[in-house]
Symmetry: C2
Subunit: 473 residues, 2 copies
Amino acid sequence: MKKFENFSEWFDEILFNAEILDNRYPVKGFAVYKAWGSRIIKRILEILERKLEETGHVPMLFPLVIPEDAFAKESEHIRGFSAEVFWVTHAGERELEKRLLLRPTSETAMYPMFALWIRSHADLPLKVYQSVAVYRYETKATRPLFRMREFLWNEAHTAHRNWEEAEKQVKEAIEIYDFVFKRLGLSYLILRRPDFDKFAGAVYSIAFDAWNPDGRINQIGTVHNLGENFAKVFDITYEDIDGTHRNVTQTCYGFGVSRVVAAIIAQHSDDHGLILPPEIAPIQVIIIPIVYKEVAQEVNIYAKEVYEVIRREGIRVHLDDSDDKTPGEKFYYWEMFGVPVRVEVGPRDQKERKVTITDRVHLRRRVVNIEDAVKAIRDLFDEVERELARRSKIILKELITDASDTSSLNEIIKGRKIARVCWCESIECAEKIREVSGGEIRGYRIDVEEVPERPCIICGQAAKKVVYVARAY
Amino acid sequence: MKKFENFSEWFDEILFNAEILDNRYPVKGFAVYKAWGSRIIKRILEILERKLEETGHVPMLFPLVIPEDAFAKESEHIRGFSAEVFWVTHAGERELEKRLLLRPTSETAMYPMFALWIRSHADLPLKVYQSVAVYRYETKATRPLFRMREFLWNEAHTAHRNWEEAEKQVKEAIEIYDFVFKRLGLSYLILRRPDFDKFAGAVYSIAFDAWNPDGRINQIGTVHNLGENFAKVFDITYEDIDGTHRNVTQTCYGFGVSRVVAAIIAQHSDDHGLILPPEIAPIQVIIIPIVYKEVAQEVNIYAKEVYEVIRREGIRVHLDDSDDKTPGEKFYYWEMFGVPVRVEVGPRDQKERKVTITDRVHLRRRVVNIEDAVKAIRDLFDEVERELARRSKIILKELITDASDTSSLNEIIKGRKIARVCWCESIECAEKIREVSGGEIRGYRIDVEEVPERPCIICGQAAKKVVYVARAY
């Protein structure tokens, strides 16, 4: 299986063999997260939630179901989501008086409560988060982790005194996501979406677009400034210091947990299987004894000693001393699961009180003394982490290519890459771009100011923005 | 508000004021878990999940929705649940081809997958758990935490080679739950439910029935031996060592997270508000500086020093140096939130390098030197934990009263207590017990063998079991 030649098949094999997810659940777009996947997800959420707590967000849990009237309050929001919501209409044998929808996102579950909780400026800012599953009836082909009808995310919602404070919050949210994604070694573009593609109900939207081996963008996070749009319809007001009553200004942001797992697999893994950043690896070190008949006992005892030395340092280590596989089979097995460091313990290692350690990225072996093992393993963790980030960054750079005319644009998109084009900001030219290339305008960078040096790629008029065009999940 | 006089009002006030849950969500039976509640829940789950992992259970996450045909496979199961499931019938504007139900429990979501995963005896035992919300359209009056249409739980499902191994698993499950509930200081009866009240689809059911100040039982956990009932209909078979193909034997057990929170509040808290066992308290120690104008600065500096001394020991401590409340108001405020230990720091404490510490159970103050503070706090944690468990145990004992005839039975149940009666095991007498008293037979103890010393309380024939009768949530 080849990552860059047949991404889709390669990806599905990893999901299945590394026990991330089983896609055979009998409802389309719904799948089972298996143990290895669940553990990875738990660690990703730990990093994110710690960061959210440090920045003053508090955890809450809002109901899954939203009454139809609350959902319908914000007109753009309902227009954006109504085609893809699941409706609960019955309970037992009876029809419900009020239809309920499964949250596709939680604005309309949360904001009626915000209106009850917020009274004065002293109640602001309000910064709330929850890690839950959301439900969207995707009509495009579903893809495990990338596009599912049930997917896992973390969503944060905030309320502020005014636009300036909401703008600061948008910056903080971008920093939080950037911090977490970087910790996971991911590479992406931080783009402001064109107006026609912003979140339904937002003033504007920022997105984290991660690269994928098949050239399709994987949106792993979004941050929205909602202005007063929801505050007006949900009547979320506060009494300011001067006694006047004002609407709050709101932001919200979503961290796509399922898609982040997809990005980690897609960006970091190789033709041997998964490769996990050590921080989120359920097992960080796998010890494999290489036993021969006459010295089996000594080697096994020594392997247990090595296990204890590593374990007591707080490293997540597992000793695979099962006898149902050969050492070679065990190598392949744990490579598939992406364990960052392998420790072999053979008769020679035992005799010389050494261990043979191998990193999962380069599969380079080296021999160290047992007393240096923990230090060497920690160094390898750092190396794996750095190397994953470095490789990913290079590929993102390589994927981005300037397009000066529609034929080169078309070629880039067909070649599974990301095109950088100059655009006049008209919706007509945006549509034309999609028509000629099959790619979509994803937006312009906000971390770097890029000044258009050519006219609009479609109409030849003065360009206003340098934008990125790609196909997307 | 009085816990034992008006339980319901007292309970609702604590939920609201201690920011556990807001019951004003506009869908009946659904509520918002606020920050304090969410944090308590997270810590409870940590204790439980750690224990499940230690005993070889692996985390997974199964879909929320179950297709109707899978749900309908086990006939007793569907009979037990069909009246109370929520149905998803539409998505966007279109009607779904196959109706989906929201999981009321996950047997029928999990077991089709078990059938795919289990091939041979080497795949057994399979021990899986997930912490999720489940959905039941309760037709009785809903009560926050006790009886909701959306409630949080942890469910574990296991598959084994035979009945003996399943029986061992039932024992392990009971030990796990007993361990966690004890850690939380709860008191309860472990009862085998009468056959007419077992889980729909089980061979038999064991339940953990916690006491409540209003005399109503709060079922906080259940353990079921499913035998081969589900294996037969979901075709979960394995090839045994001798080459024969057999059905697996299954168990499942549910830990009612929402109800455990209810039990912690109901059993431990008092008329000042919440009292939390230190292990699950989001804040374990609250420091309140008592400042007077002339020495305000010194006291505040000293309070920060005390904060650092406690914090660096890994204790969850918060310094409330806000100036919007008087010290007295702060005392009340943090008592409501159930923080186990309060540390006051006044001018005299500062001068003498002492602190005044108070436990939340007895509100007894004592003065210790700053260098002894951490030790004194840890001792108080132990004391609070022991004391909560001790008090709860005494009340459970006091609540249980022997009933030898129907009039005393009636009196006990009306008096909000738990009756201990002798029963012949006939369903007619069980119904009669409910008729005359309003209480239900909850079952007989499995941790202690109790031999009936009187005839059946209803028919006067030989009794087979000593059972507990109470009203229940």
